[in-house]
């Protein structure tokens, strides 16, 4: 919904309307007022939240106040840097990435992305994945320096990062855990091992604890990895043809 702000409507009124999710089109005019569908509210200095509340009540009528909105947190690809290597597709466990009809990597399911998790950007060898709401550069979209590229190149090999292929690592840990269960039946120790593994991954990639806690099972991860590998391979073939 667009609200028109005419004349010298105070910034506080505009900010209050933006906070409520309205787009504000400001038009220079004589008398300061806020208009929606032909209805106008005067907006003198010092108005602000009161005017925004009146506009909101008018627009919503008897409709209930909407639930808290989704924080728009998702990866944005810098196609000037992206080499279509599909590392992000293979890495993401939440099906955020997809492949276009022309074999190009794309962000397909933004709302699947885990808020405040920038892990896929950390495994991109070209520093091509941004999260505009992240605090630090270059993940936030700040210019990419030669140092950034060098640092990412060092991290590109996830196996080097975690001491082995991530899926193999998880598989091995699962096997070791099973073996240990049969010998020692030490559930607590196995759980601690898994927690240590996740803590290491969380620190290395900046993955929030709640995201680690929601990771799929080892079997699901392996199935997803295999599916992603197949999709990436098909995409590479497709991109090679076009």
């Amino acid at each position: 919904m667009t609200v028109t702000a005419q004349g010298s409507v105070p910034a506080g009124v505009i900010a209050a309307l933006l906070e409520k999710g309205y787009r504000v089109a400001r038009e220079a005019a004589a008398e300061p007022s806020v208009r929606v569908n032909g209805k106008a509210w005067p907006a003198p200095p010092g108005a602000g939240a009161a005017v925004a509340a009146e506009v909101d009540a008018y627009v919503r009528g008897d409709a209930p106040v909407p639930a808290a909105a989704w924080k728009p947190w998702f990866p944005v690809i810098d196609y000037k840097r992206c080499t279509n290597c599909m590392q992000c597709l293979s890495f993401c466990l939440f099906d955020v990435y997809g492949v276009s009809g022309t074999g190009q990597i794309e962000v397909r399911n933004q709302t699947n992305c885990k808020t405040d998790c920038p892990a896929c950007s950390r495994v991109c060898p070209e520093v091509a994945i941004m999260f505009p709401k992240y605090r630090h550069g270059p993940i936030n979209g700040d210019a990419v320096s030669a140092d950034d590229v060098r640092r990412e190149a060092m991290k590109v090999d996830i196996s080097a990062l975690l001491g082995g292929d991530i899926y193999s690592l998880l598989r091995d840990r699962s096997e070791k855990a099973k073996s240990r269960f049969s010998k020692e039946r030490d559930d607590e120790r196995a759980l601690k091992e898994r927690q240590n593994c996740l803590v290491t991954m969380g620190k290395a990639l900046g993955v929030p604890a709640e995201v680690l806690a929601s990771l799929p099972s080892v079997e699901e991860i392996q199935a997803k990895a295999e599916a992603a590998r197949q999709r990436a391979e098909e995409a590479r073939k497709l991109a090679g043809q076009s």
Partner: protein, 111 residues
């Protein structure tokens, strides 16, 4: 904002506190106190995720006041509406309110 008319698009970055408040509110106050027409949107990221068709209305010569240019260009591209050439992106994460306002308002009106 029509595609043919260069304008000013201001992002309030509603969902995160990554833009210094004094810059975000400072720029908005100066815009509101000027005689310029402008569009203020709650959050460009949210519009990009929804692939909002109004993102296609930014015309060459327009000024987008938001965050890092690389991120803003990516958001428009991601929405399926790449920014046309000649759009100036002003970064509220790196610049001061004064610097940004001086890039927008006519000389002598920025004070």
């Amino acid at each position: 904002m029509a595609r043919q008319n260069p304008g000013i698009l201001y992002c309030y970055c509603k969902f995160a506190r990554i833009i210094p408040n004094e810059v975000k509110t400072g720029v908005l106050e100066r815009l509101a106190g000027s005689d310029l027409d402008f569009d203020a949107v709650p959050d460009l990221c949210e519009m990009s995720a929804r692939k909002d068709p109004r993102l296609a209305e930014v015309a060459p010569g327009s000024k987008v006041i938001a965050c890092y240019p690389r991120a803003v260009q990516g958001l428009f591209h991601s929405a399926g509406h790449p920014l046309p050439a000649g759009v100036e992106i002003l970064n509220m994460r790196a610049g001061t309110a004064d610097e940004i306002v001086q890039s927008i308002l006519p000389a002598g009106a920025a004070a």
